[in-house]
């Protein structure tokens, strides 16, 4: 098991390093002098020269990359051109917001998607199955920002039950925080629920066809026991893996939802960074997203091995 984790890490770390090279390279291909960008309004050549030396912009690329990566390993992502704040602090502030949204969305997805997928598979070909399948397709096809706008229109504008956008820190006021995060997590949760549901259904259908299920039925086991002990236990393993992977995507991908609801999370940080040409921020966010994605991949792999003993060997 320990060796297995090590082996997976041995794949994940070079991948992350490669991401860092690509992210670093993208910035270097940009037209314009980064020292000038850092200087902002300042046009004094001495200042620009000072900045160039301070940020090692006069050094060869591989040394710049080494210093940049060395800083990141120690938590120093550089400074945002727009906010003038250390990017590491910005991440520390925004990441918890996105994590909260992602976890809430995943909970909604599991609460809706799991039972729906299981029922659809057990009642294959019935009206229930078709209903669930259509919901799954709709959930996959709805643009998150449109669903967000519609929910705002209904719950905030028409009914006035929930705020239409903004954010309050959980520690300041837990109830306000939930009011502000409910609609966005519902938007993210709908798409996630569709994915969970589709995977649950197809995985269950695959297991229902297996010989051991037939054997269990032939033994005269009650259908409920067959389903719980044999079908669910095996059918849900891929669902756990997939849900973990999707959580990884949620953690980095709530760009539009955060934009629509004005939530100051990771996604909004990257969009703001893109529009204000604050590329150090974009670099940092892409790198962090990739790291989280790879981490969730690793967790999914480990969970898969733990849950399916055949692979443990």
């Amino acid at each position: 098991m320990f060796l297995y984790v090590l082996r997976r890490l041995a794949i994940a770390i070079p991948t992350l390093l490669l991401v860092s090279v690509m992210v670093f390279g993208l910035l270097k291909f940009l037209p314009g002098d980064p020292a000038l960008a850092l200087a902002g309004e300042e046009r004094d050549p001495a200042v620009i020269e000072f900045l160039r030396q301070k940020y090692s912009l006069d050094q060869p690329l591989y040394i710049q990359y080494g210093k940049w990566l060395g800083g990141i390993v120690q938590g120093d992502f550089g400074t945002s051109i727009r906010t003038r704040l250390p990017i590491g602090d910005m991440i520390a502030e925004k990441l918890p917001v996105t994590i909260q949204l992602s976890v809430m969305a995943m909970l909604i997805a599991l609460v809706i998607g799991l039972p729906a997928g299981i029922v659809a598979a057990l009642r294959r070909g019935t009206a229930t199955d078709y209903g669930v399948t259509i919901f799954g397709l709709l959930g996959l096809s709805v643009p998150s920002f449109w669903l967000g706008i519609m929910l705002i229109l209904f719950f905030a504008v028409r009914l006035g039950w929930l705020p239409s956008g903004g954010y309050v820190n959980f520690l300041q006021s837990p109830i306000d925080n939930l009011e502000y995060t409910l609609l966005p997590s519902l938007v993210l949760g709908t798409a996630a629920a569709a994915i969970v549901m589709r995977h649950t259904r197809s995985s269950m259908l695959l297991v229902l066809k297996q010989d051991y299920v037939r054997t269990a039925r032939a033994k005269g086991l009650k259908e409920r026991i067959v389903v719980i002990r044999h079908v669910l236990r095996n059918g849900l393993v891929p669902v756990v893996t997939m849900s973990t992977l999707h959580l990884g995507e949620l953690l980095s991908g709530a760009v539009l939802t955060e934009q629509v609801f004005g939530i100051p999370g990771f996604g909004k940080m990257v969009v703001d960074g893109v529009f204000s040409r604050d590329y150090a921020v974009v670099q940092a966010v892409v790198l962090c997203s990739a790291a989280m994605f790879l981490l969730m991949n690793l967790i999914a792999d480990i969970a898969y091995v733990i849950l399916s003993p055949r692979l443990r060997g």
Binding site: P14, F145, V255
Partner: protein, 291 residues
């Protein structure tokens, strides 16, 4: 002619060929999804003939009018007919979908073929880069590329195409690995068939089916991504209509003119669902395991 051909083929091959097409045609998903896609393609092609109004012409006497007999979907903040703009918006969505998927396939499939067929260091280099790209979130990648290239419809296509490319590399490589050690490949090699010809004539046909399925599903993703980029102001430049830009504008008039937000959204959902249904249907029909 056809009878002699059929007798020459092995029974399995003879049986499977017509049944693939028939299975596609018998699948409700393929029919409905394909129908939706064809409908939108026709709408896009014949937009000037169908649209009741000029999509970009403002009418200051008809600003933000609710749906009526004159304007079925209502009018927007500049008095433009929303139905006409939704009809013309299909062009941007389908064009970006088609071109970006074509870019993704044109770059990704050859890379996957080479990685899987050549193996060794080449494979490792290509695969690791693919892994790295896949670790970056799709939309963030597309946004970063689009911003880097500058906002335009053309650059949105390139940005989405590059972001969607790695999935085709991985898929093709996996398929090639599955057939690489088959006897007929070894036989072709022994006969001295050049590598490029083996790849194109012997390996490629076997990896085509999953690529077609993936391309269909990626069209859905690309249409969504186009709408997302346009929504953020990184796609089609105004005043040319795009469903994403229409939604971005509509957001400012939610309380006064909710119809502005509803129709472009329905158009996106329907088209994306069409591609998803078609992809699901093709997947079922082309999957050899499921008999």
């Amino acid at each position: 002619m056809s009878t002699t051909k059929a007798t020459l083929m092995s029974p399995a091959a003879a049986g499977s060929r017509p049944s693939t097409l028939r299975r596609c045609l018998n699948h409700p998903g393929t029919i409905i999804g394909g129908g939706i896609v064809i409908f939108f393609v026709l709408v896009a092609i014949f937009a000037p003939l169908i649209a009741p109004y000029e999509p970009n012409t403002s009418n200051w006497l008809a600003i933000r009018q609710a749906p009526s007999a004159l304007h079925w979907f209502g009018t927007d903040d500049l008095g433009r007919d929303i139905l006409s703009r939704v009809i013309f918006g299909a062009r941007a969505s389908l064009l970006v979908g088609l071109v970006s998927v074509a870019i993704a396939i044109a770059v990704g499939v050859p890379l996957g073929l080479i990685a899987g067929y050549v193996g060794g260091f080449t494979d490792m280099a290509i695969s690791r880069c693919t892994d790295a790209l896949l670790a970056c979130p799709f939309l963030v990648l597309a946004i970063a590329f689009a911003a880097f290239l500058g906002a335009s419809l053309q650059n949105a296509m390139i940005a989405i195409g590059i972001s969607a490319m790695p999935i085709f590399v991985r898929l093709t490589r996996g398929q090639v690995l599955a057939v690489r050690n088959e006897d007929y490949i070894a036989a072709a090699r022994l006969l001295g068939v050049p590598n490029v010809k083996i790849m194109l004539a012997y390996v490629m046909p076997n990896v085509l089916a999953p690529i077609v399925v993936q391309a269909t599903i990626t069209m859905a993703t690309a249409v969504l991504a186009e709408a997302s980029l346009a929504f953020l102001g990184l796609g089609q430049r105004p005043p040319a209509p795009s469903w994403g830009t229409m939604l971005d504008v509509a957001r400012q008039f939610l309380t006064q003119a909710s119809w502005m937000a509803i129709w472009p959204g329905f158009a996106i959902i329907t088209l994306v669902m069409g591609f998803n249904l078609l992809g699901d249907g093709l997947n079922d029909a082309l999957d050899p395991r499921d008999d």
